[in-house]
Symmetry: C2
Subunit: 333 residues, 2 copies
DNA sequence: TCTATTGGTTGGAGCGCTCTAATGCTGTAG
DNA sequence: CTACAGCATTAGAGCGCTCCAACCAATAGA
């Protein structure tokens, strides 16, 4: 179970270890004769370079660390895809690791990532305190995705939640809705901007905002709707804080004998794969997740190459995806 | 951006590098006096050990590699949780990396993982060819999750898909169904055992199996149902190959004016978070995913500690989760 | 008093690689 | 025939750490 080293390959190919090193790194200054001999020997021995030894000796790393706060959320999967694509294009590998939305575990996950001395680290919607992030940023380039931060030495990539909610309200208003409630995401990431965007858009249209306290889960969405129904303050349209919440809301509406969208329209946020299911077919706000990842990786690699030291803050434009949960109010009933 | 080394800490604490090493590894044979001095110096310098150098020097690793074939699938998130929990208990870290269900990318992902010389590697539902796995297994302990294999030197953890489908059929039969179709997963992982389990259970009950070709997606599930309806061979109950397929099936049934479960009962497989949504509330077969992860990690660590060299093959028992998509046939209509 | 013993501490080799500077070699010009 | 490029190749140091054997008190036993 002990793997062959560069020395073994060198011996077998009848050359020096340094030459093998050159071949492995694809250097042009090696004769074809030797190159083929080395590659042949490596192949025969099943040799592959030892990334750690390489990184130790070269004092550089070709690894980007990615800390995913919650692996259960498919949102991050697409962000990771974006990071992965860019990283691979530029010869970097990624290692992922997860924090399970617990500050303690995230802390440990981050430390573990840092102990590999990666070239850069992307934190996807982390819950660790800002000062921990800032401290890490002194040692390695850091980019924050789906979490804004005023930390001066990190880059950030976010969607413009205010704008997204604006799009949703514009859509509902254009359908003729005037009574539109927002199921609020509470303390959740990005809940603030979304709430602000909702209020701003309602005000802009001369309508009265109605913010209902809720959370990022389907259970919470259902509970909020039941609250509205029992207090007899159900509007004709709902802007949920995310897709899960929206699905919970729809389910509670249907349980109450109301129909979506003819009686009540519902808009989600995030355009998760759930929303796209025909059975659900939820009108929602799409975030360019893959683009998040790509930009995050680019930001990191720019710093790695020393092209930039000033922090960059990307604010991406979300877009409206109209499906079957929105219609004019008091529809075909 | 250059981080302090053990040498720096030693210098500052007025001791040797070796002593710092002992302190960092928590050795008992260090006087309290020196220990506190070292820890203080390390703290002041913001020192943390270099995992790669450590692993290189000690020729051991405290890292388990995990290759997730598809990050978009929440199934794996729970498996990873299980692995992570066990690994952490035993002082190991995990690094994840993804193959996107493409053999080429998985190959590269595996290589990248191996280049870190991890203590062991877990492959979650990989699509790489068996010989690549077997070759990797010569270098490092490997465990396969949700993919069976006859490769002699790897451990495997699977659910008993035959048994799971048996549970589903037993449930439907006990409700009074006699015409039950199976929407088949085609080439998908575990589709074979599920199909076999379905056929065996039907036969056992003296019923005629009806296998309908389909795939692991909601679109495919819907298509299969439309086919059944147009050929006028719709049964009273459906056992889908997985939850996505089941949701597609339900949606097509509803589109056709049929009601679930009063007209047709539907059972899924996997108990994804989707199935648990109240809006969906799908009767399905649950796999002990977290347990998959725990057992996979245990298997790896046993090999790491040299406690076992014989391969182990875990076959876990799935269980039936009854929700609201199954009822007696010809119900309350 | 001298030798063991013990517990704390240290120097140095070496893990598998990269990188710099030096080496040998061929070919061309003076 | 010497000089000097220019190129392919190599020796050797060193990356940050662990581990072993050696070391050095200080105490115990004879």
């Amino acid at each position: 179970m002990t793997r062959p080293t560069m020395e073994d390959v060198a011996l077998r190919a009848g050359v020096s270890r340094a030459l093998v090193s050159l071949v492995m790194r694809g250097s042009p200054k090696v004769s074809d004769l030797r190159r083929t001999a080395v590659l042949k020997a490596a192949e025969e021995l099943g040799y592959s370079p030892h990334a750690m030894a390489r990184s130790l000796a070269s004092r550089t790393s070709t690894v980007l660390g990615v800390m995913v706060s919650d692996l259960h959320n498919a949102f991050f999967a697409e962000v990771v895809d974006g990071i992965d694509a860019v990283a691979r294009e530029q010869g970097f590998d990624i290692i992922i690791n997860t924090g399970g939305r617990s500050p303690t575990r995230e802390r440990r996950a981050l430390d573990s990532l840092l102990s590999f001395r990666p070239a850069g680290v992307a934190l996807l919607s982390p819950v660790v305190p800002a000062n921990a992030i800032s401290k890490a940023a002194e040692q390695v380039p850091i980019v924050l995705v789906a979490r804004s931060s005023r930390v001066s030495n990190v880059d950030t990539v976010n969607d413009d939640g205010e704008q997204g909610c604006g799009l949703a309200i514009d859509h509902l208003v254009s359908l003729g809705h005037t009574r539109i409630a927002h199921l609020d995401g509470g303390e959740g990431t990005q809940a603030g901007p979304r709430r602000r965007g909702y209020i701003a858009a309602m005000t802009r249209h001369g309508l009265t905002p109605q913010v209902v306290s809720s959370e990022y889960t389907d259970v919470a969405g259902a509970r909020a709707i039941r609250g509205l129904i029992s207090s007899d303050s159900l509007p004709t349209a709902i802007l949920a804080c995310n897709d899960f919440n929206a699905v919970g809301a729809i389910s509670a509406l249907e349980d109450a004998g109301l129909r979506v969208p003819s009686d009540v329209s519902v808009v989600g946020y995030d355009n998760t794969s759930l929303a796209a299911l025909r059975h659900v077919s939820l009108t929602t706000i799409d975030q360019p997740r893959n683009e998040f990842g790509r930009l995050a990786a680019e930001a990191l690699l720019q710093r790695v190459r020393g092209e930039r030291t000033e922090p960059v803050r990307h604010l991406l434009h979300p877009s409206l995806v109209v499906r079957n949960t929105t219609a004019p109010p008091g529809g075909d009933r």
